[in-house]
Amino acid sequence: SQTIHQWPATLVQPVGSPLSLECTVEGTSNPNLYWYRQAAGRGLQLLFYSVGIGQISSEVPQNLSASRPQDRQFILSSKKLLLSDSGFYLCAWNPLTELQETQYFGPGTRLLVL
């Protein structure tokens, strides 16, 4: 069966520091991968999605970037964190044949920028 992992689960970082969040999927090949951010009491905001290695689409111009160095690995990065980058970051995947339909979410990373 397929599983999705995210780490770390919680992160506290100072303003101006770099960020690297990792997401990996097991049990599937060629998944579509997504990064979302959820602010407190708000809905999910799609940040990036990827349909293959090295293929990244950005939805919202911002302080973050994403990379997909391997088929089942998706990384969210920042060179210098802002206070506004705080939030709950969720990685999700779905099979290549079901583009943008049912998505399966990871456990999330809670990021607090101080």
């Binding site: 809905g43 999910l44 905001q45 939805e59 339909e101 399966y104 979410f105």
Partner: protein, 110 residues
Amino acid sequence: SQKIEQNSEALNIQEGKTATLTCNYTNYSPAYLQWYRQDPGRGPVFLLLIRENEKEKRKERLKVTFDTTLKQSLFHITASQPADSATYLCALERGGKLIFGQGTELSVKP
């Protein structure tokens, strides 16, 4: 721009009653709409998908309706239980992507 609105206030109901959550959208006609459940501190979990040519879909105690004229989806939980307490998110397809509402928090009291 695309706008999705869900009940912003928390919904409190008594165990055994039917919970009804609303999702309204504007400025678009999605090919399908989905409902997810999210528990505190966890990722959302997919519940149901309904397509534009379907008026109703059921899964156990869950029922979703989709009215493309009203641009509205209703999500019902019958015989609600305290374990149904969570935040429920609707998401609609737009240009091949999912746009999520802010969610409605449901609390079922014993």
